[in-house]
């Protein structure tokens, strides 16, 4: 640990963090798969963010659909049209917004719950920790898909429901990992010192433990986004999504309902699936790269 000198401790801390970020990036760069994942994500993020400019929200409109229903790919519609005659390429780009957003929100929710539970359980120990970890263990063995379907059925059909259903069913893994890390951090001497100097529970958890588990939380978030995107598609495909919102899973559900499978209208079915797989893969690759930078012993990318 750095000794405190004349410079303000805060500035020092920032400097230290900047250094470690630079170190992190240097190591991350050596993981080619991770870079590939990152580049893919950047591309999709760009597409999603610029969608209002490139395709415009009009692409969702059914009344102003430019084509005939279920046209096969052509110069005008590179990926054909959907059952309303909307351009599938446009919908695919527009759907990225929803799929990425839901994946991101659900993962953040899941990791936030997990981090909170993990840190408190690691910090407070005793009866609280026992009870909390029992609950965590219990959630860990719940069949997540079954639970998420049940939750989505119980609540009204909206994006919020999907985010919630994914978030509250996937946090236990994070909680366990964060707790283990918290225990390790808290066994270090400087926590002892902080306590002796009168640091309260809140201070220790937010100022000392949280920054130290942050990298782990980051890796975990990346990995969970990947699952959350798949989960969103799954729930939408099972008809539990909001039918008026265009998402990749929703497009697949539309395709199946319209009869694209038996009619062999592959252009309706193939692109959304590929988009889901590519983005999920990209997040997984990033997550693995982050993980192996943080914990080289894991050997994932060797």
């Amino acid at each position: 640990m750095t000794t405190e000198t004349a410079a303000s401790p805060r500035a020092l801390a920032w400097q230290r963090r900047r250094h470690s970020a630079a170190r992190f990036w240097k190591q991350y760069r050596t993981h080619r798969a991770g870079l590939f994942g990152l580049a893919t994500l950047a591309l999709f993020a760009l597409l999603a963010l610029t969608a209002p400019l490139t395709v415009g929200s009009d692409v969702q409109s059914v009344t102003r659909a430019p084509g005939q229903p279920l046209e096969s790919p052509s110069g005008e519609f590179p990926l054909g049209t959907d059952r309303f005659g909307r351009s599938l390429l446009g919908l695919l780009i527009w759907g990225a917004r929803v799929s990425l957003l839901v994946g991101l929100l659900a993962a953040v929710l899941s990791v936030a719950i997990g981090a909170f539970i993990g840190i408190t359980a690691g910090h407070f120990r005793g009866r609280y920790a026992t009870v909390i970890m029992r609950i965590t263990d219990w959630f860990l063995v719940m069949p997540t898909l079954v639970l998420a379907i049940a939750l989505a059925t119980v609540m009204s059909r909206s994006l919020g429901t999907i985010v919630l259903a994914i978030g509250v069913t996937t946090w236990p893994t994070t909680a366990r990992l964060v707790r283990a890390q918290t225990l390790a951090v808290e066994s270090r001497p400087y926590i002892e010192r902080a306590k002796a100097l009168g640091g309260g529970h809140g201070h220790i958890m937010s100022r000392h433990v949280l920054p130290n588990v942050m990298p782990l939380v980051l890796a975990q978030t990346t990995l969970i986004i990947s699952s959350a995107i798949l989960a969103e598609a799954t729930l939408a495909f099972l008809g539990l999504g909001d039918p008026t919102v265009v998402s990749w899973g929703g497009l697949l559900q539309d395709a199946r309902e319209a009869g694209a499978v038996s009619a062999g209208d592959w252009w309706y079915l193939v692109p959304p699936g590929i988009a889901i797989a590519v983005v999920a893969l990209a997040f997984t690759l990033c997550g693995r790269a982050v993980e192996s930078v943080l914990n080289p012993r894991l050997g994932v990318a060797r």
């Binding site: 059914v62 229903p69 279920l70 005659g85 008809g239 319209a258 009869g259 038996s262 894991l298």
Partner: protein, 622 residues
Amino acid sequence: MSTHVHGRGPKGPRSRPRTVRLVATAGAAALVFSAGLATPLDPAPRQAAAADGDKVLTVAVAQSVDSLSPFLASRLLSTSIHRLTYEYLTNYDPKDAHAVPGLATKWESSPDKLTWTYTIRSNSKWSDGQRATAEDAAWTFTKMMTDEGAATANGSFVANFEKVTAPSPTQLVIKLKKPQATMTALDVPIVPKHVWEKVGDFSEFNNDKKFPIVGNGPFVLTDYKADSYVRLKANKGFWRGAPKFDELVFRYYKDQDAAVAALRKGEVSFVAGQPALTPAQAASLKNADDIKVNDAPGRRFYAIATNPGAKARNGQKFGDGHPSLLDQRVRHALFMAVDRKTIIDKVFQGHAVEGQGYIPPRFSQYFFKPSASQELAYDPEQAAALLDRAGYRKNSAGERLGKDGRPITYRVLCHATDPNDKAVGQYLKEWWGKLGIGVRLDCLDNVSDPWLAGTYDLAFDGWSVNPDPDFVLSIHTCAALPATPKDTGATDNFICDKRYDDLYARQLAEYDPAKRAAIVQQMESRLYDLGYMNVMAYPNAVEAYRTDQIKSIRTMPSGAGNIYGQDGYWSWWSAVPADSGGSSDDSSSTGVVIGGAVGAAVLVGAGLFFAMRRRATADDRE
């Protein structure tokens, strides 16, 4: 992810082939386990497989059987099967659906219409050889009257029965408490007394344990496996003549698209149009060889219903429909903003007819077309003006405000399982959005709860209309409202209108068909003006079959009508096999090849385990 797994202790220096062996054994056990499962799955001895040359008609259905007991079944598939396996007292003529003889050869009522006497045919035999008699019918009805469990499915038919007797094997006498219109349309399967009197609890007996099931219809049910198939064999001794196919199989597919794919491949001979095939499916099947798409005028209407303020017969109000919908001008404006032609063109892609009156044009004598002055043609500008006139104006943000000063957003109840609801819902959202009205689509698997509770603003609605429209007319009378908010009434969506009710009473008392039809049209006109039931379309019945397996099959009505879901058993009874016949021959031979391949794949998997295991033990020996 999988990489956090191994937070383990220090590493031991010894090898552990034991582990490998254990994995291998576990794998082998699982293999044996699953292989073992493949064979003795059903302990019941199965009927002899279709002998070579047997003509099998396979129907793909997207609905599962709820119960094989005629006393419990209510799904269309189950009741269709009962129609095929048990003879009812009467049947419907395939041309115009008037009552024709079934188990009863003739029937007459006493002048006061309270006593009905049916003559039971003497040439109908149960499949176990015993003769079907009036005694069986009397026992069936009496059971339903006395045992609540037996009244589950068809209890409404006998609710009004006083007494049912069988003075002789060929005579059945039913005494009523008050006159009943459905006496020649009692859709109640008559079951063999000598079999069913042994049943203990009718509310839990599903009739699916002992096969073949004793019946007297054109087919005999020989085998059933939940969510897989229902097999029926032709009843060679059927009094009307044996069916042309030797076997009839209803095979279950979880969704319609899988069923259509199965038809393309020839796995099945027929795809039930329930739900109707989608435009994409119909279009792709039309181009396929040896497949005929039956695209016939449907008997359904497809409407958008508005909540008229749910209330019970005792005057108690319930539910929370939007108050603005009580204004007729608002309802008209909403419907005027619905472009019916686009719905036909885009959503149904021509497989439907634009909506007019309440009853579909297939029933031409009752079909009603609004006059030019009353017609609510598509005209969004007029609609906006109408809303302005009604006092619902737009605010600066373009939102139309309700009388409470808040922007109007309607909840539209839709069936999550019906793609058309979701598609039309999206159009409504945009069309009404232009009027400044928000739409929230509430798509549910099961809409009956908010529906019965009146907690919706608008809802997608549709009914299949019978040749006699009495039922679909009756569900909009005040008498159909629930007695109290706690009851469930026959009402469709709580409409209660004095003028409509008067007309309803008049048509009931009118015996002259032409005059009655005129009154029915007046009722439709009234319904149209009220704006509570806005018919958008009459969807066609779209179904398809393989012409290389089915040579001909009778539709109902015979001119242009549906095949699946008929009122009688005409379609399956009349179906004539094509000369090339059976569908299952070639698939079973490829089955052998492919099955062999799978077996090989499984063996490779097993081999892998054992290879690893052997290697491990070999290492030990070194």
